[in-house]
Structures are given as structure tokens and as C-alpha cells.
């Protein structure tokens, strides 16, 4: 068989390394966010300095997560980047289109509960997952 020359640092291994790095940053951000959200009440009895430190840590880890995501996107090949960007665009659109009316409905007490940001995050996660799955299957 006519063998094609394999690059030493191939696409799949680079993407695998980037996905692992991205998962680690996501996990670290989740942990930092949990610390910031529950720490003041459960760990340091609302001491302001510790709360500010937790907020600073959360933002710093969040910046690391954004950079890891940016690097991941930059390393993707053009089709996979297109699928990711399409999913991100749809997610952003849905977040804005659904988020504003949701907030207005809360302000005018149309809904019987508080329009918490967590609902928006759940909607964004589900939208991204569905649109990403659709995009991946479309080009399979």
C-alpha cells in the first residue's frame, strides 16, 4: 500500500490535548464559581476579604478558560470550526432573544418565579449541545 506521510504532531492528537486542556479549565472554573457562590456562607462566614479573593480567583480562572476555548477553536480544522462557530452564533442569538423577554416577564411578575441567570445558562448549554450535534451530523 502506498503510505502517506503522517505528521509527527497530528491533528487528532493536537485536538485531543486541547480538549483535555479545555475540560480542565472548565472544571477549574466550575470549582472557582462554586467556591465564590457557596464559600461566603459555608466557609468563611461572609468575610469580605475572602469573598473578594474568591471573586478575583473566579475571574482569573474564567479568563484562563476563555483563552483555552480560543486556542481550541484556533486549532480546529475549518469544517469543525465552522460547526462550532455556527453553534455559538445560534446560542448567542437564542440567549438574547429568550433572555430579554424572560427578564421583562420577571419585572412585570408575569412568571411566578425570579428570572435567575441559571435558567439562561441552562438554555444556552442545551441550545449549544443541540446545534452542535445537528452541525456535526449534517456534515458526517
Amino acid at each position: 500500500m502506498n503510505q502517506v506521510k503522517r505528521p509527527e504532531n497530528g491533528y487528532q492528537s493536537r485536538i485531543r490535548a486541547n480538549v483535555i486542556r479545555l475540560f480542565r479549565w472548565n472544571g477549574a472554573w466550575g470549582a472557582a464559581t462554586a467556591l465564590m457562590a457557596f464559600g461566603p456562607k459555608l466557609l468563611w462566614n461572609r468575610t469580605l476579604v475572602f469573598t473578594l479573593l474568591a471573586v478575583g480567583l473566579d475571574v482569573a480562572v474564567g479568563v484562563g478558560m476563555i483563552l483555552a476555548n480560543k486556542n481550541y477553536l484556533a486549532e480546529l480544522d475549518e469544517l469543525q470550526r465552522k460547526v462550532q462557530l455556527n453553534s455559538m452564533g445560534i446560542t448567542l442569538g437564542v440567549a438574547v432573544v429568550a433572555g430579554v423577554p424572560f427578564s421583562v416577564m420577571d419585572a412585570y411578575h408575569v412568571i411566578p418565579f425570579h428570572a435567575d441567570i441559571a435558567y439562561l445558562l441552562i438554555l444556552m448549554s442545551l441550545t449549544f449541545a443541540v446545534s452542535n450535534l445537528y452541525g456535526t451530523r449534517r456534515y458526517r
Binding site: 485536538i15 469544517l79 469543525q80 456534515y139
Partner: protein
């Protein structure tokens, strides 16, 4: 855009994964290009041309005729050949 990637790959007895490695893309991308679901960028088309040691237009071609019913690339080639 139509292409001869699948034929060229088969002639060399390469798998989609091997071609993907050589082009530094995913196997899914090679499959999407071969099946005509995705058109590659110019840099990727150049990489494919270099890999197969062919000109881009020998691998990829646009079957859409121009307004006069001819193929624009063919017309340009005719002009340059004169």
C-alpha cells in the same frame, strides 16, 4: 463544487484517516469534502494539490456554467493558451 479527492485517494489506496492526517484535518472533514457537503478553503485546496502533485483545478472544479453557458475556468484557460 465537485472534486476528485475520493478517486485520487482510492488510486493511492489511502484511507480517509490517512488523507486527513496528511492534510492536517479531521477524517470527518475529508469525508464531507469527498461527498460534496463542504467546500474546502483555498489553503486546504492548495495543500491537497501539493499532496497529490496536481493543479487545484485538476482536483476541484465548479460545475456551474457562466451566463454564456460555458465554464469560466475553461474560458480563462482558453484565453491564456492563445
Amino acid at each position: 463544487m465537485k472534486n476528485r479527492l475520493k478517486v485520487l485517494r482510492a488510486e493511492r489506496d489511502w484511507t480517509q484517516a490517512q488523507l486527513a492526517d496528511a492534510l492536517d484535518v479531521s477524517r470527518q472533514t475529508v469525508n464531507a469534502i469527498e461527498t460534496g457537503k463542504f467546500d474546502p478553503s483555498l489553503p486546504l485546496a492548495f495543500r491537497a494539490a501539493r499532496l497529490f502533485r496536481m493543479r487545484i483545478e485538476e482536483i476541484f472544479h465548479d460545475p456551474t456554467p457562466d451566463k454564456d453557458g460555458g465554464n469560466l475556468a475553461t474560458e480563462i484557460k482558453k484565453d491564456t493558451d492563445v
